[in-house]
Amino acid sequence: MKQFLLKVEPVIWLLFGQGIMIGTMLLTGWVLVMGVLAPLGVVDSLSYEHAHGLASSLIGRVVLVALIALPLWKGAHHIRSLSIDFGGADRDTELATFLYGIASVGSLLAIVAVVRL
């Protein structure tokens, strides 16, 4: 497992790095608009048909997968790093497998859900 993690570390870091950008910039704006401003009526809500049309376009599907999957990798990598820094956890134990496992399963589910839109 240790050798495997070492090999895929660049990939994990890339997903993490993109997750930071998406999670910090896009997701924050997304939650603000869709979760707060639209329900409060500050901005106009999209009709179901309009929203579905946007989401099921090719770009919409890619954006949705990125918005759901990448922050999962960001979270997994952050929790792993924090557990090592603050909790003295071992770098290559079950923790990493567990966290990246969740991110992998979540990413797969996101892809399946978005494909089925």
Partner: protein, 249 residues
């Protein structure tokens, strides 16, 4: 004229021939407000207790010898004024290093890490002297100049949570130094160093706590170097996948 203010310096003492564990000793001395913390430690050594051991040399933040923990923070003691601290100042040896005696720590492991990143200019083909100098533009110099300002004071290793948990971690200064050569326009050894950077206990072990840059007395910003090194190591890795022979060239 009023008496000079007094401060109490609580200093960690450890004599490996006598002590099993470190102990502390307090020294109350009159301090000149213009003193640096190092001046106070030197005064104690010269005038109060000659058995106290500590390292220092240049007294102007160039040699990097006088790093110590001051009130729990890694500091270059020739740079910090005594007046910025309260009546009691606690001085201990740098964290994350084995202690040889009192405030003196073992540097060998730290120095060994530098060799691992090949901190010299690597050329595919050495140039002959008659080829003349390899010129650099100011912009090319700017790429690495900041990272070459490190004085090896070891404060970043003392502050780094990863070094604390994993002593074999290559660490901020060594990675910053390797990165300094990777972004030097005269160097052609980036692939070699990137392969090292993808190994165990190197750039990807960094959790980007940023503590190294917080404590760096020379504003080297090793955390930035480590993260740029991560990015370059990833790009180099991806390039190697597309062009398998790329790494060997």
């Amino acid at each position: 004229m009023s008496d000079p203010p007094k401060k109490t310096f609580v200093i960690t003492r450890f004599d490996p021939d006598v002590d099993e564990v470190p102990k502390t000793q307090s020294y109350e001395i009159a301090v000149d407000p213009d003193w640096k913390v190092l001046d106070a430690v030197n005064y104690i050594k010269d005038e109060v207790d000659g058995t106290l051991s500590h390292r220092w040399s240049c007294r102007m933040a160039v040699c990097g010898s006088c790093g110590m923990m001051v009130n729990g923070e890694p500091r270059l003691t020739c740079k910090d004024s005594v007046s910025q601290y309260g009546d009691t100042v606690e001085i201990t040896p740098l964290s994350n290093f084995p202690v040889i005696r009192d405030l003196v720590v073992e540097m060998d492991g730290f120095m060994d890490k530098f060799k691992k990143v090949k901190p010299w200019i690597i050329r595919a083909k050495e140039l002959a002297a008659e080829d003349g100098p390899v010129r650099q533009s100011p912009e090319e110099l700017e790429e690495f100049k900041q990272f070459s300002m490190c004085i090896n004071c070891m404060l970043c290793y003392s502050a780094c949570p990863v070094v604390s948990n994993e002593p074999e971690f290559l660490g901020p200064a060594a990675i910053a130094l390797g990165h300094r050569y990777n972004v030097d326009s005269r160097d052609e050894g980036a692939s070699e160093r990137n392969a090292i950077f993808r190994g165990e206990g190197t750039v990807f072990s960094c959790s980007f706590a940023n503590e190294c840059s917080e404590v760096c007395p020379k504003n080297v910003d090793p955390a930035a170097a480590v993260n740029q090194a991560k990015f370059n190591a990833v790009i180099d890795w991806a390039t190697g996948l597309v062009l398998p022979s790329g790494e060997k060239e």
